[in-house]
């Protein structure tokens, strides 16, 4: 099984490389299959730790042997070509993959030292601790207020209406949306602009006081101005949360993250300080990707 897989992968890599025609010839494909991650995948202040994580969709393996830490107050950016498993990987971190039939995860993923795939773990509180913001803004068919209050209500975080009001206001303030919507909290969340909707989704996520926030290409459906607002917001949020962000934009990764991880065909090829990755990549495929030679 393993040998078949690595054969398939090498074939795909080889085709990609030949097409780009830009990879140094000393790099051989056979090495890529066994090479460990280059750089610094581990953190001293790890919030979430992943060790030898493999993800299978039925018989197809989409994440191969990934080990990575997400540190306290840190933004980790996941970059890599389409289909490399970035989204699949971060969806493991709050067990969103559980909802996909035929998906299997092995290896260990811990949050503050607790195995989140352990038998005694319930996904409901886990997802409150590890929040998620999606690619497309997806406000619920409710008012702005109810969108933010939804999470606190289902988790019983507020004892009274006043407390709930406070949670909603704080969350909207942190998401930088309060001043824009404070006079129309009863209007539907869908009446906001795309960028505002995405900030509403971030406020909704913050409202359940998570420890880690996962963002799956949060700006890919937004215009440049809305994108820069969200990027500033991410910069502020990291003082309180650990953030893992998937992005297709290398500029965005460079702007918002402290560490960057490069995934390629389900493998984590290189992790390191963002500045170092973008100036002195060590893995030839990372270099090829960030210089735009393929991907």
């Amino acid at each position: 099984m393993i040998s078949t897989l690595s054969f398939v992968h090498s074939g795909a890599v080889k085709r990609g490389l030949q097409a780009s025609g830009a990879i140094p010839s000393r790099f051989t494909v056979g090495d890529a299959a066994v090479q460990p991650t280059v750089g610094e995948p581990f953190s001293d202040q790890a919030r979430m730790s992943c060790r030898q994580v493999n993800v299978y969709y039925g018989a197809k393996q989409s994440i191969i042997d990934v080990s990575l830490d997400i540190g306290r107050n840190e933004v980790v950016a996941m970059i890599g070509p389409s289909g490399c498993g970035k989204s699949t990987f971060i969806r493991c971190l709050n067990r969103m993959n559980d909802t996909i039939p035929g998906c299997r995860v092995d290896g260990t993923i811990t949050l503050d030292g607790v195995d989140i795939y352990g038998k005694e773990i319930d996904v409901v509180p886990l997802r409150a601790q590890v929040g998620m913001v999606f690619q497309k803004p997806n406000p619920f068919p409710k008012s702005i207020y109810q969108n933010v209050a939804y999470g606190p209500k289902i988790h019983g975080l507020a004892q009274s209406r006043a407390e709930l009001d406070e949670i909603v206001e704080t969350s909207l303030r942190r998401a930088g949306l309060w001043d824009e919507v404070k006079d129309r909290l009863d209007q539907p969340g869908t009446s906001l602009s795309g960028g505002q909707q995405q900030r509403l989704c971030i406020a909704r996520t913050i409202a359940v006081s998570p420890e880690v926030i996962l963002m799956d290409e949060p700006c890919s459906a937004l215009d440049p101005i809305a994108t820069s607002v969200i990027e500033d917001l991410i910069g502020e949020l990291k003082s309180q949360y650990s953030i893992a962000i998937v992005t297709h934009s290398m500029q965005q990764a460079a702007r918002v993250s402290q560490r960057t991880a490069y995934l390629h065909l389900g493998k984590l090829l290189e992790v390191g300080q963002t500045e170092r990755i973008f100036t002195r990549p060590r893995h030839p495929l990372t270099e090829a990707y960030i210089t735009g030679r393929f991907g």
Partner: protein, 462 residues
């Protein structure tokens, strides 16, 4: 020329015109420097030719259909002997009918009057002339249209625009047929209803508590004075519809939620078609089921509990009607639940919501307009349903809200009023039109409410 041969001829002629137009377009394209020099594609020129062949012919034919009987009648009547042509209009129509019957070869019962026989011969002759004239006119129209367009085909002719305009007009006419039919039905019901309200006051009809639409045929007949208070009938409809929706709305909605959110793909593949089969069962079969199985069950069950239930009851009809409506509600609700984007489910799960919280607080609000639409469709089915009620709820117009008694509905009364030989000037028959009008207005109001709700929630939720 019969109608079918006429249409066949038009079809053949326009096919020929199409070919001619195509050839002509090709021919004018060549000297101009190829097909790309033409304003439109060759098919547009060909279609334009074919349309101008068929449309004048069709116009002539329909005009002929409308005018020919009038003209022929006027000519025949003008030629009748004086003692016949001086008759009143009603008698004259009878005579004219006799003439037509003679022509068709129907036996009139008496030996034919020589004047009538002469008129019949005249009629037959006029018909022959008219047929020939029609054939000539239609052919001329078709040929003239074809020739004119054929001549006009040039690279600069804007054939595509003209063809599109003609098709837009045809589409408009087709859509107006539906509208005009509705208007015509409403008007015909309305006028008959007005005639009804001339003999029975609207106050009595809408607020009267006694429904007994039998009129005395002889003056000395006893006990058939006729009472047209429709409240018992309306109440019966409301009662049975309410029972039906009490069964159908929760069952259908919960079944839809199970099928779309919980059931595995294999169960879904079996269960959904099975539920939709329910919708395909003829209502008369449901009627058997209601009258022969459910009604006796209710009666024996009622007597066990010490309740008196009649053998035909609103409950039996309502329950079975509810079962009939379940697939409407569930199928529509299932579709709208499936149409809720996966991203909303992901967002809710991502916040740590359970499946039931997600369904109650996110999916159902998002799908609400569709669900309301499905429910109102179910209600209008219930109001309009006839067969089950005829068989299981009885005909007695009891003023009651007790579901164990026999009641009657608007639809059932319309059926009973119009079955058999009727005179169309008695209030008894005309009452059916008044009831029909009420039924129409009720469903119209339901639809308006449904549209309003759907629009309101759409503004809020999409």
């Amino acid at each position: 020329m019969t109608t079918s041969t006429f249409f066949l001829a038009i079809l053949v002629l326009s096919a020929a015109a199409y070919t001619l137009g195509l050839k002509r377009a090709m021919a004018v394209a060549k000297p101009a420097g190829g097909l790309s020099r033409l304003h439109s594609r060759p098919a547009h020129y060909a279609t334009l030719t074919a349309l101008w062949c068929a449309l004048p012919a069709l116009a002539v034919f329909s005009l002929w259909l409308a005018l020919e009987p009038v003209v022929v009648k006027a000519l025949v009547v003008a030629d009748l002997p004086e003692e016949l042509s001086r008759l009143s209009t009603g008698r004259l129509n009878l005579v004219y009918n006799d003439i037509k019957n003679l022509v068709a070869g129907n036996f009139l019962g008496t030996a034919a009057d020589p004047a009538l026989a002469a008129a019949a011969a005249h009629y037959r002759q006029l018909k022959t002339i008219s047929q020939a004239a029609l054939a000539v006119l239609v052919l001329t129209g078709a040929l003239a249209g074809t020739v004119v367009v054929h001549r006009k085909i040039k690279p600069t002719l804007r054939a595509r625009n003209q063809v599109e305009t003609i098709f837009r007009v045809i589409l408009f006419l087709c859509s107006s047929i539906a509208v005009f039919t509705t208007v015509a039905i409403v008007l015909s019901v309305l006028f008959e209803a007005i005639r009804f309200f001339q003999s029975v006051s609207p106050g009595e009809f809408f607020f009267g508590l006694k429904w007994s639409p039998q009129l005395a045929i002889r003056a000395d007949q006893v006990g058939s004075s006729g009472a047209f208070g429709a409240i018992p009938v309306f109440l019966g409809t409301v009662l049975i519809s309410a029972i039906a929706m009490t069964v159908a709305a929760p069952t259908g909605l919960l079944a839809a939620i199970y099928l779309s959110e919980y059931a595995g793909p294999r169960l879904r593949a079996v269960a959904k078609p099975l539920m939709e089969i329910l919708a395909g069962i003829p209502t008369v079969v449901y009627g058997f089921f209601a009258a022969l199985t459910v009604a006796p069950l209710i009666r024996s069950g009622g007597s066990l509990l010490g309740l008196e239930a009649s053998s035909e009851s609103a409950l039996a009809a309502g329950l079975v009607m509810g079962i009939m409506i379940i697939p409407f509600v569930s199928s529509l609700s299932d579709d709208v639940l499936n149409a809720v984007p996966q991203s909303l489910r992901d967002g809710s799960y991502g916040l740590g919501a359970t499946q039931s919280e997600t369904i109650r607080q996110v999916l159902i609000p998002a799908a609400l307009p569709g669900i309301v639409g499905g429910l109102l469709l179910g209600v209008s089915r219930a109001i309009g349903e006839t067969m089950i009620v005829v068989m299981a709820a009885g005909l007695a117009a009891n003023l009651t809200v007790n579901p164990l008694q026999a009641v009657t509905t608007v639809t059932v009364q319309i059926v009973t009023l119009l079955v058999g030989d009727q005179e169309f000037d008695s209030p008894k028959t005309l009452a059916a039109f008044a009831l029909g009008l009420v039924l129409f207005v009720a469903t119209l109001i339901l639809n308006i409410i449904a549209l309003y709700i759907v629009r309101k929630y759409r503004e809020q939720y999409e």
